[in-house]
Each structure stands twice: as C-alpha cells, then as structure tokens.
Symmetry: C2
Subunit: 328 residues, 2 copies
C-alpha cells in the first residue's frame, strides 16, 4: 500500500464549504481563508513514542491526545479552531492501528469543527506532528504578557491526575484500579479547554495552557508580564481529581506527592489565567458558560519571583521542578 | 540545557513588524495577519533520517532542505512565503549540529522573508517537521486541477540529478567526483522555485512541485484535471544537469539510467506546470523574470493516461515508477 493510498484512506475527508477553509487535502497546499478582521493563531506540537506516550497506548487515545494538546494551545489564546495539518512517521503500515488512530483524532476534530487540511506520511520511528490553526479577532488573543500586580490567578479543571497516572503506570506509586482508570483518562484523553478560552476573551489579562507543570508554566506568564506571584499550595493540591476518589483523608497519598503532581505534574492541558479581582463574577460566568470549573489559586505581585504559601499563609521552601522533555 | 533554552538559543529571532506576522515565537500560539483579500496557503513536510537524508549529512544542508521542500509547495501554488513553524525531535543536544542546522535553515528563510514563528523541540529519533505559510490572492492559487487538453506541459530547471547523486552515494552508479558534487548539491540543497511560482500566477493552468518523480507527480495533475498527457522522454532526459558535465556522449550513463533519473528520480523540487500554447511567450517572460529556465516536455491530451514517446514520436513501453516513501 503506497503513501498516497494510505493518506487517502484514513485521513482525507471532504471539507465543508465555508468555515475558513477554501481548499483541503489533495493539492500542494491547503488554502485557508480567515474571515475579515481575524488573525490566524498557529501552534505546533510533536509527540514521540516513549517520551510523550507509551508504545502500547490505545491508538484511538493517541489520536485524541495528539490533537488535544494542540487545541489546548488555541484555547490558551482564545482562538476558535479552524483546521490542522498532520505529519505522521510510522514504523510500518498497520491498518488496524491507523483506523483507530484516525478515529480518535477525527472524532475530536469534529467536536471542534477543526478540518484536517493537509499533511505528510512517511516511514520512520513513530512520530506525530500536528500544526493547528484557529481564528481570533485582531487584538483579542489572550497572551502571556498581560498579567498585572493584584490580578487573581486562576486555573481550570483538575491538576495532577495525569502525572499520578504516569507515576502509577511506571510503578512508583500504588493507586487503586478505579482511581487509576480515571487518572489515566486524564493522561491519555485530555479535554482541551477551547470553550473556556473563547469565553475568557476580554476578561483574562493573560493565559496559557498548563502542559509542563503549573509552576513552570506560570513562570512563563511571570517573565512575559514582568511580575511575580503568590500561590496557595493547599488550594492547588485540592485540584487533583484522584483525591476525591480516595478515602476522604486522601488515602495513602502523602502531601508531598499531591503537591508534586498538582504543582509540577505536567500533561494537564488546563488553562492558567489571570484577571483583576473586580472581574471575579465575569470569570464565574465565563466558566459557567463553558461548563468548565475554575479555581482561584493565588495572585500576581509586583515583586518578581514565585512565592509558595500554605493555607495559613506560611511560605514553603520546596522546589517543584517542571517536566522538561530534555531534563525529564 | 533545557528545552526552552535550546529553542531560545537557536531559533528565536525578533519578528519584523508587518509582513503578515503579528506575533512570533514565545506564546502559546503565533498570530498571522494575512493582508485583506489574501488566502493563506499551508503545507507540511516531515523529514526522517535514513529515509529523506543520510545520518552524516551536513546539518546546514539539512536545515536548508527541510525548509526548501516546504517552500517548494508554496511555489507550486504561486504563494509568497510568510512564515513557518519547526518541530524537531533530536536524539541528543549537540550544539554544533544545532548551530549549523539553524544556520542553513534561517539563511534560506531570510532569502525568502519567511519568519520562524513557532514550533516544538523534543528528545527522540531525529525528525524534522516544518509547516509553512504563504499568501496568495483569493482565487489565484495555482492548483493541480486546471490542466486542459491541448495545454503544453512545462518543467523548470533540471531533473534527475538528485537521484543520480543518491544512486552514486549508495554505490549503485559510478560518477566522477566533480559531477557527484554538483549532483549532490541538488540532492541536499535544492532551490525552491518561489519566484517562478509567483510569476506563473494567471499564466499556468495547473502546477505542482516535482518531489516524488516527474511521472508520478504529473499523474496527480492528470487525475485532478481529468485529462491525459503525452511526454517527450528524450526532451526530459536532456534536463539532467550531470549529462552536460559528462563527455558529450553522456559518458558512461546509459539511456535507461538517464530516463529513470529524470522521469522518476524524485527529490527534484522543480515545478511542473501546464499552460495553453497561446501563452508560450508569457511563460518565457515569466521564466526570464524569475531567472529560472523552463522546458516544454509534452502536452495535455483529452484521452486519459500517460503516453511516453521518444524524439521520433515512437511510444515507449517502459514503466518508470515514482519514489514512494513506503514502497521505495
């Protein structure tokens, strides 16, 4: 089976007219036609076996995740998904694998009206590279650079479950089976917070998606905005979903593990964002409209640096290093 | 050295204001702002070691080629390069390698005013995935579907040298050192025909870039346009540059090797295009304005199929399979 047949069979679908896509798969280029006044938000992520996923991962989950991590970047900018390209290196042509992978990928794409408009397929060690395109009105994109002293710091959804699943799957932590299944779903099929990102336009002063661990990613906002922050570590620890499934006293998870997973776990694909305290009701309305829970976990300070405090306001000294694809 | 430092050191450069790029590297997304009335042409290519390049290739050449093959797709659509994203999986952080790779890549990017606006870096088997963006006035993109019976078939530059170099480097053909150097330059540092693609807007009825071999790629035009073609194989054989460096009688290259390389060699990154015979002078002016030679190699026919003839008009039976990244 040749390269072109392979692409055609699993990944070519008719592009609906309109919707910002003038020409889809099948020519040298796809043609995007953003609406007047719109800018095109572009992001790109590459997933490698053994680094971003296990060799035995369900290919449908992998297809979902490969697109989800890219949609998460659009969400962080407040952009509406439009289209994506897929480049795929495969060690062999395995039709069952491809069918499942394409199924997981295209199901999520359909949920977000995001058309597959082009790409490339080659033989090689398994590698998935997606570039995603979204529309955002000129000047309205959420950036990392807008946080101001006094702003609240918010985070969506849950934190740390993906890392807990990773720790358990690699045998470093014991987790009950039901809890592991739920945590593993967060690791393998994260939910990009696209609806929340769209609702936060005009409300959030800065935003990014939490992919490498909360503290490390927050650091990008602090550097880009020239500010510091204080984070309530106990508030953040509550955001792990797995603890709610535990025995009420958080079972056998110690405080340190919870902090490590929620503060620096990685693979969360939640939005962290800032907004002035005067906009708390607006944030709550945005979260409700997006059907996405949000929690307030700290505030931006004029003094540089990241200060970690517990519920009693006591400073913590612990270091919570973020996941780094070369250091990790 | 962490992932972010690595990206920052070699690939982050200030984006000049205007030029269609509103925000470059450093946020969750880049922001492109195509001029009013413009569509955005998008293409994506993935290069894998051992499949698209040798492990010992000069990294500066590799950087050049990784972008060149993408710019070639923009050229085929008549789009002006605007920006690109780079995703890179590296087995290790080798600063000398990165410096050379970035040098070759960014030099070509600068020649075409094409800004690096984002990307991803990860550990993994060497893999280079570039997605490129260009601007083209709405409705003016050169497509594969516009060829009409009676149109001339043209091709730019030279054909077959890259394949000749590949055959020689893999020990299947003996080639004099000087000739190999020239042919290898075509393999490793192809010239994307961007200027020609821009000049051919409004003249060519169809176009594509020759990346997998002339005949196989022409097949895409024929299928997309619902037509057939007759190709003068002897005209095509003349387009190999290496033969001109030979001894006049084409040295030791036999006719079959020349045909194989020029008709089905792959890695040429020339433009194949069609235009009505009435536009021959316009094509010549476009080629002169782009300082790119073009040659007329056949014509489009209403009857389906690809008919190969020699200089005397005799039909040839030989099959010239194109390079396929799974069959090859």
């Amino acid at each position: 089976m040749g390269e072109f047949d392979l692409i055609a069979r699993y990944f070519t679908r008719p592009v609906r007219p309109g919707g910002g896509v003038a020409l889809g798969v099948g020519d040298d280029c796809a043609l995007l036609a953003p609406a007047p006044g719109m800018q095109l938000a572009v992001s790109c992520d590459m997933l490698v076996e053994g680094r971003h996923f296990f060799a035995d991962v369900d290919p449908a989950h992998l297809g979902h995740k490969a697109l989800a991590v890219n949609l998460s970047d659009l969400a962080a900018c407040g952009a509406r998904p439009l289209a994506f390209t897929l480049a795929l290196a495969l060690p062999r042509v395995d039709e069952l694998w491809l069918q499942a992978f394409a199924g997981g990928l295209l199901r999520l794409a359909d949920e977000h009206g995001c058309a597959l408009v082009g790409g490339d397929t080659t033989a090689g060690p398994l590698n998935i590279c997606i570039t995603v395109f979204g529309e955002v009105p000129a000047g309205q994109a959420l950036l990392r650079s807008g946080a101001r002293a006094g702003d609240d710091i918010w985070v969506s959804g849950t934190l740390g479950d993906a890392r807990l699943a990773l720790e358990a799957l690699q045998g470093r932590v014991q987790v009950p089976a039901g809890m592991l299944a739920a945590a593993r779903a967060r690791l393998e099929t994260p939910t990009p917070r696209v609806a929340l990102g769209l609702q936060l336009r005009g409300i959030a002063t800065s935003a990014l998606d939490v992919s490498d661990g909360l503290l490390g990613d927050l650091g990008h906002i602090l550097r880009a905005s020239g500010v510091g922050a204080e984070i309530d570590v106990d508030e953040v620890s509550k955001l792990i979903a797995a603890s709610a499934l535990s025995t009420g006293d958080r079972g056998h998870f110690d405080t340190e593990l919870l902090r490590q997973c929620t503060l620096a776990g990685g693979d969360d694909y939640e939005l962290a964002f800032t907004a002035p305290p005067a906009r708390r009701e607006a944030v709550a309305r945005a979260a409700a409209a997006a059907a996405t829970p949000v929690a307030r976990i700290g505030r931006i300070r004029a003094e540089p640096g990241l200060r970690l405090v517990d519920a009693q306001g006591r400073a913590l000294a612990g270091r919570y290093a973020s996941f780094d694809h070369f250091a990790g």
